[in-house]
Subunit: 163 residues, 2 copies
DNA sequence: GAGCTATACTTGAGAACTCAAGGATCATAG
DNA sequence: CTATGATCCTTGAGTTCTCAAGTATAGCTC
């Protein structure tokens, strides 16, 4: 790490290489999410997590999901989701809905305002992602990168999303 | 995103590809750092950020750095560093040191205990990184990945580290 | 149908940040 | 030498999470 690790030259053993790659991964994540979330906040008053949840709901069947499934798909804890949805509910973007067959679960449903919001926000946000992330790579590099990243642990996401 | 975006099959346009790659990047980061930091905490009572700062100091000249430079290299704000170092100082891993030539700056210096701590922690932590991240890739894939990640915005890290 | 365990959700307390503001020192320009 | 502005650091307040504990419901087993 430090000087050696982030400069390209000192890359030598397989081990240092892993360290370099990991450090770049970490720093890039910090730098990009910082910028993305500040833009998202400024333009749409949404957190990156808010946005993430909204998009999950947007694509879900009936634009509705169990809270626990949201938690798993965006990698937050159940209690994190409770608090996050509290916010989105008080903004009128999401509503609660009881489940007929299981009284333990409450669905989160996207409201009309929520749909509108996410459609607006997605435009600028996708452009930002393209600028800060995607545009760095040629088409076939994108595929490579996507494939490589796909080998990393994604926790429950893959399962939750391949359903 | 959602179903389409994280499954490999629905990958089609360049745009969706960027979205997929970005989502994988985000989720992988969440999943890996969660696991890494829980192991680090359990074995060594260190945060991922603590560790990061400690390693930066470990490799710095004289094992000493200005707080502002630490902030830039690990991508935290100055105030975040103040609080983080407060913790490390009260654990005796790091000490303050006045700068002779500039009274505004206080250095953070790694103590003997700090050196020992980081050398211990690095062993298991590097193994964890290898397990959760590096081991997913063949040697030449590591180089590819490292190169690709190097094109992403790393904020001040590159400058701070190439010095 | 009584008890057990598992699941879904919420809540209180606390960790790890951020931002905005303030204090101290430095560097420069007049 | 003195004002001006930049830089380094800290602090108070607020945000967004987490973990642990608690409540309520479900389903299974005997």
């Amino acid at each position: 790490m430090s000087s050696q690790v982030l400069s390209t030259q000192a890359v030598s053993s397989a081990h240092d290489l892993t360290e370099t790659a990991w450090l770049r991964f970490l720093r890039a994540h910090a730098a990009i999410t910082r910028e993305l979330s500040s833009r998202l906040e400024a333009l749409h008053e949404l957190t990156l997590s808010d946005f993430d949840v909204l998009v999950q709901l947007y694509y879900a069947e009936g634009r509705r999901m169990r809270r626990i499934d949201i938690a798993r798909s965006v990698l937050l804890t159940a209690s994190g989701i409770t608090r996050l949805l509290d916010g989105l509910e008080s903004c009128g973007l999401v509503a609660k809905e009881r489940c007929a067959s299981d009284a333990r679960v409450t669905y989160a449903v996207l409201t009309g305002a929520g749909v509108k919001k996410i459609e607006e926000a997605r435009e600028s946000h996708n452009a930002d992602i393209e600028e800060l992330f995607g545009s760095r790579f040629a088409p076939e590099e994108r595929e490579q990168l996507t494939e490589l990243l796909g080998r990393l642990p994604l926790a429950h996401t893959a399962e939750a999303c391949s359903a």
